[in-house]
């Protein structure tokens, strides 16, 4: 599983960092950063939830 986040779309709602804190964080500007772009399988459900919650479709999970 590979995770990317598009900072040009992020609206700083923070769902991703709450839902999968080992994978996403908010940088000092409030926008998303991916701290673990290839998370282990047990994180899959949380990462998919983060993708679904993101209101501005900034989070993408590849080969999910």
């Amino acid at each position: 599983m590979k995770v990317t986040a598009d900072r040009t779309r992020c609206m700083a709602a923070g769902h991703c960092a709450v839902t999968a804190p080992d994978v996403f964080d908010q940088a000092d500007d409030g926008l998303v950063t991916v701290t673990d772009p290839t998370p282990p399988d047990p994180a899959r459900a949380d990462v998919l939830l983060a993708e679904r919650l993101c209101p501005s479709r900034a989070v993408t999970v590849h080969d999910a």
């Binding site: 609206m11 700083a12 709450v18 839902t19 500007d29 409030g30 939830l49 919650l53």
Partner: protein, 404 residues
């Protein structure tokens, strides 16, 4: 297409129960995801009650939030006031919206919100100290539910809390105005107040919150002084009325569901999801967002034509049985972890509430401190005597008499 609006259900409709949508909306929700409804001015728009359809429409770049457009739906008379036409953030499309939202993102980040938590907890305790010192009954709205978000937002923005009676009253006048003139007068009073405040901050090169931080960023291009005024106005208004009424209505809901209150108090880990369940149930704004279509949009067999208005109902999308089995039940254990964040109370898409994590934190603190300190809290009047807001979309109580 011409629609005979006389035959359509009207919008908005008052609730019969303070935390359940009007029976008329419930009926519509059972019929499908999109409905034509008649507004006060005889025009109509699409009322969206389906969760999936609401999400997709609010995330669709072909939907505009620009309130200055001639075809933007006017849901209530007060929205005809000029002050509402260029409403900051909420009423702008990209690219202006994105520029302003990014300017504010650091102040509303999770880190910043978490750093405020201890102060908000201390504030809640001080307010309870004052309530118990005075003795029962108390007005939980004005003695607790309102001062918490009001103090938090004035601190965050750098607005003197000493002026709270002025800005709280004018905000209620603006949001509950029955006419455009009433809304305009209240909005103008707030505008003039913030204008003077910003002038003083510019003069003193103040460094005391969001307004002075943004004042130093005014460049006449990405951020004009009028933009700053509009943003300050939006944050001041958005920051306290919704949250205070959510605290009040959340307390009413919990008092009527003592089993749910017990669950919440028994397990600190449950509190965030329980707060989201209360946000879902109460749907305090009743609306997730209003937009106008810039192009024809096909959605699940419906066509929203260019120029048609759309209003996504939070109270009804939050009761879509596809997402929420037994949707009218209050169930603080409904969803574990952040799956509880799927509700539409804060909207969806690029305009999803900027203050949502701040509001969640304030609500978590407000409910836990209140029931920890006053475990025997109860209404001091029969529930039938509580006066709820009528005639609009924003829900609320006028006062909330309680004893303990």
């Amino acid at each position: 297409m011409t629609v005979d609006t006389a035959l359509l259900p009207s919008y908005p409709q008052d609730r019969k129960c303070p935390y359940q949508p009007s029976p008329g909306y419930q009926e519509l929700g059972g019929e499908g995801p999109l409905h034509r409804v008649r507004l006060f001015d005889g025009k109509w728009l699409w009322l969206v009650t389906g969760h999936s359809q609401g999400r997709r429409l609010l995330a669709d770049p072909r939907m505009s939030a620009d309130r200055s457009r001639a075809d933007f739906p006017v849901v209530l008379p007060r929205f005809e006031a000029p002050i509402f036409k260029p409403l900051a953030l909420i009423g702008f499309d990209p690219p202006t919206h994105s520029v302003h939202r990014r300017l504010l993102a650091p102040d509303f980040s999770l880190k910043h919100v978490r750093a405020l938590r201890a102060d908000v907890t201390a504030l809640a305790h001080r307010l309870i100290d004052r309530i118990t010192a005075k003795g029962a009954p108390a007005d939980l709205l004005n003695d607790y539910a309102l001062p918490i978000p009001s103090m938090v937002v004035s601190e965050l923005l750098g607005v003197p809390y000493d002026d709270h009676e002025f800005f709280e009253a004018r905000t209620v006048d603006l949001l509950q105005a029955k006419s455009p003139e009433g809304a305009e007068a209240a909005g103008q009073a707030l505008w003039d107040y913030l204008d003077r405040l910003i002038t003083a901050k510019e003069r003193d090169a103040a460094d005391d919150g969001v307004i002075s931080r943004l004042a130093s960023r005014v460049d006449g291009v990405d951020l004009t002084r009028d933009d700053l005024l509009r943003i300050a106005l939006a944050l001041l208004i958005g920051g306290h009325d919704t949250t205070s009424q959510m605290i009040a209505m959340g307390v009413v809901t919990l008092l009527e569901h003592p089993d749910q209150l017990d669950l919440l108090l028994a397990d600190a880990d449950l509190v965030p999801a329980a707060v989201d369940e209360l946000l879902r149930v109460v749907s305090v704004t009743d609306v997730s967002g209003v937009r106008v279509a810039l192009e024809d949009i096909e959605i699940d067999g419906y066509t929203v034509r260019k120029g048609e208005g759309v209003l996504v109902s939070s109270s009804m999308t939050n009761r879509d049985p596809e997402v929420y089995p037994d949707p009218y039940r209050v169930d603080v254990r409904r969803t574990a972890g952040s799956a509880s964040r799927q509700h539409m109370t804060f909207g969806f898409g690029i305009h999803q509430c900027l203050g949502q994590n701040l509001a969640r934190m304030e609500l978590e603190v407000a409910f836990t401190v209140l029931f920890e300190r006053l475990p025997t809290l109860r209404l001091a009047v029969p529930r039938a005597d509580l006066a709820f807001r009528k005639g609009g979309t924003m829900q609320g109580v006028h006062t909330l008499p309680v004893a303990w």
